[in-house]
Every structure is written in C-alpha cells, then in structure tokens.
Subunit: 262 residues, 2 copies
C-alpha cells in the first residue's frame, strides 16, 4: 500500500474509534485547533488536553506521582478557586499534589516535512518542549508541549502542609498560567492557519471534498449541543512544501546549560 493510502487508512481508523479518555470528549479550548488539524489531509490528532489544574492524591512512589494509581480529587480546565480545592483536599488521605499542566497535543503527520511545519509553528507559539517522534514503519508524530507548569505538594499522609492563604496565592498563579496557556493555544491556531494558507497558495489546488464526520464518542461525559464538537470537518488539499525550523531558533543549539526551551 502506498504511503498516502496507508496514512489515510490510519487516519480513518483513528478518527472513527471511541474516545477512551476519562473525559470522553475533546476539551472546549482545543476543539478549534483539533478540527483545523483533522481537516487537513496530512494531519490527524491522536490525543489532546487543553490544559488543566488537577489535584492528585496518592502515595508518592519514591519520586513521581503515578497518575494512573492516584485518586483524582479535582480536575478543571477553567479557573479554580480556593474553596474548590479545600473541599477536594478533605478527601485526601495521602500525599496530595496540585498541578497545572499546559496544552498537550499529539498529532500524527503524513510525512516528516509536515511534522516540521507543525513543529515550527508550535515552537513559535510558545510550546517550546515540542518534539517529533518517528517510529517503525515511518509513523511520524508531533508532540506539542510546553514548559510553564506547576507541581506543588500540599499534604503529607493526609495532613495539610500549607495554609489556606497559600492555596489562594497558588491558585492565582495557576489561573494566570491557565490564561496564558489559552492565549498560546489561540496563537498556535492563528499561526497554523496562516502557515497552512501560505502553503495552499503555493501549491496546485486539488478538488476539495467536504464532509462532516459523526461524533463517535460513546463515552462522552458532557454532551453539548455544538456541531463543532464533531470529530472532524475534512477539507482535502495537497501540500508540497513544509516550513522548517530556522536553525537559529533550534532549541539547544549552542553550548549552554540553559537552552531556551528548558
């Protein structure tokens, strides 16, 4: 099977299967970006999280909170207030940790130059920990990641180690990070749209197909009446040229201990 056909098959398989995440649907703040990507022949998203504030309770396994083994006391993709956290903390009997996690997005790309274009846009938008994976059989994935997180232990064996005043202070910072994260997502969307339009102008146009995929999310927690929640709107266009990272902005070039994207 040729490369393009194989990619189309992978894409179709991925976008028609059930959303197996805990939430069961794409986060609101990243729906537009996911749709923009899935609407292009050369991309499809395999996982996404718009960014969240979470409170985890679990034994700290020596060094790292094991998400899967933790109790999720609180998850929000919106600004969080102290009372929400205080209520959630009452349920904690282990080592509770509050985290802010920015956007994470995984995009499978048809070929390396597509991943390079997307990588470049992601970096320019502030997602400085983004990187490409090339697997067996040529599966090419871009992981879009950022650095600006928070990870704050709050309690030890159920005993709260900080004051309410501190939690209030911490949440203000977390909410600011959430807000900045949202701006970066918008920047990413706009830059990507611009980059893709620029590519389209320079290539021969092909007949365009439009169709709206069904929302195949049987596990969706929150069903919203929003046609944009559909898994994808496909517009097929050929794209020949990929934008590449400017070497001068390549993370890590140069013998310094503090690379820009760290």
């Amino acid at each position: 099977m040729d490369r393009n056909a194989e990619f189309r098959r992978w894409k179709a398989q991925c976008l028609t299967k059930a959303d197996l995440s805990r939430k069961g649907s794409v986060d609101e703040d990243v729906v537009g970006l996911v749709q923009l990507l899935n609407g292009r022949e050369q991309f499809f998203t395999t996982s996404s999280c718009a960014g969240r504030i979470i409170l985890l309770d679990g034994g700290i396994n020596g060094f790292e909170v094991q998400k899967q083994n933790c109790c999720w006391l609180l998850v929000t993709h919106k600004p969080c207030v102290k009372d929400d956290v205080m209520v959630a903390l009452k349920k904690a009997d282990g080592d509770a940790i509050l985290k802010f996690e920015p956007l994470v997005l995984h995009v499978q790309c048809r070929q390396l130059q597509d991943a390079q274009l997307l990588h470049s846009v992601a970096m320019d938008s502030g997602f400085r920990n983004s990187g490409i994976t090339v697997g067996k059989r040529g599966k090419t994935m871009l992981a879009v990641r950022s650095t600006h997180g928070l990870e704050v232990p709050l309690s030890q064996k159920g005993k709260l180690m900080v004051t309410e005043e501190y939690i209030d202070f911490l949440l203000k910072i977390a909410n600011q990070k959430m807000e900045e994260n949202k701006k970066r997502i918008e920047r990413f969307y706009n830059c990507l749209q611009h980059a893709l339009e620029k590519e389209s102008v320079t290539t021969d146009s092909q007949p365009k197909e439009k169709f709206r995929a069904k929302n195949n999310s049987p596990h969706t927690h929150k069903k919203k009446r929003n046609p944009e929640k559909a898994r994808g709107k496909y517009i097929t266009e050929e794209n020949d040229k990929g934008l590449e990272n400017d070497d001068n902005d390549d993370p890590g070039i140069g013998a310094t201990i503090f690379p820009e994207d760290y």
Copy 2:
C-alpha cells in the same frame, strides 16, 4: 560538501568552542553520558544539565518565570537541605520559586535514524518527554527531557508564604526526585552503551581512532583534577542501523487525554 563531512565539521566546531553556560563545565553526573555520545561519530552534545534544584527570585511575568530575568538565589546538582534554602530566601525580595528540573540533554545526530535510536533509548530510560527536531539543512537534534519536576512558589514580594516545616518537606521530595533522576541517567547510559554495542556487532568494523580532546573550557568555574572532565574521547565507528521506537510504546498513540509521557 557531503553530509558526513558537513556533520564532522559541525561537530568539530561545536566541541572546540568555549562552554558558554553559567557554570562553564559539564555537570559531573552527566559527564559519562556526554563522553559516550561525543565518542561516537554520529552524535555530539550541544547542551546538557544533569538535573538541579534551583531557587529563583523574580517578578512573575504574568505566568512564567523568565529565567534570564530572574535572580538565581540557589543552584545545586546535589541534595539540598532546608538551611541552604532559608539562607537563600533571605535575599529574595520578589516572588521566589523553588524548582526541581531533571536531566536535559541536546544531542545533534548525523541522520534521522541515529536520532531515532537515541530517542528510543531515552524513552525506555524514563525520559518520556524527549523529542526530535529537524531543522533547515537537515540539522537533526534530539532533546532528552523528562516530566518529573517540581515548581513551587514560595514567596510573594519577598514575603514567605510557607513554613520552614513545609520547605523541609518539599526538599525531601526534591531530593528524592534528584535521586531518581540520577538513576535514570545511569539507566540511559547503560541502555545506550548496550544499544551502540549491539549496532557495532552488526556492522563492518572500521579502523578505530582514539584521541583525547583538550578541555577547552576557559570559563570553568570549578576546576577539578579529573581527566574525565576532558570534553571528549573519540572512538570512531560506523553505525548503519538505528533502533526505532516500537509503535506500541509511541507516546500519544490512542485517543486518550492522558498520554503516557504526559
């Protein structure tokens, strides 16, 4: 100039120039790994940090501490005790933040399959946020990164927002993370050595050259009498085959909001 010659030129340029990091030398815990990589034709390191606990003081710019604009109150690559932090905090007049940052390593690779091999080893060793960048002119870089950090705001406009007891608790966690980070570096070293040996066995051997590069670090803060501090010991070998990521372990494959490497 052919690709191999160009890469050799980039490598020679990089490894002979001054170390422009604040510290001015390679961290002790990562020297072995850096040497192992620089001793192979197909790799050279462009930046590294073994992992550290840092205390930063600076205006939080809306959401993100700007490292370059902060005052560095404390930096250590070794376990840290409460008194060190309390002394450093006395100098803080802004918003002090304590961070644990694990290994970061940037390695330029001769070709994509070399980056894939290294990426695979890094992922298997626990550095789950690693990723490849391919720039213009084919410059291929692997960034080795991990997730298990800490980022904890401690003071606001110079006012300490937590107790000494909390700082003690926090540092125990940070030190545990430092310890696990060190184990991961060792695992990475061993897995890499094994992977490279496995490759050598399957390829035709070439005449080996050994030489010890001078330590060209005019800005070295701490000069230690340790020949292993030399920038590199070169053993040239040809490597044809690159190990690739097993797709089943590819981060992010699958429609889940919580990819394994997040």
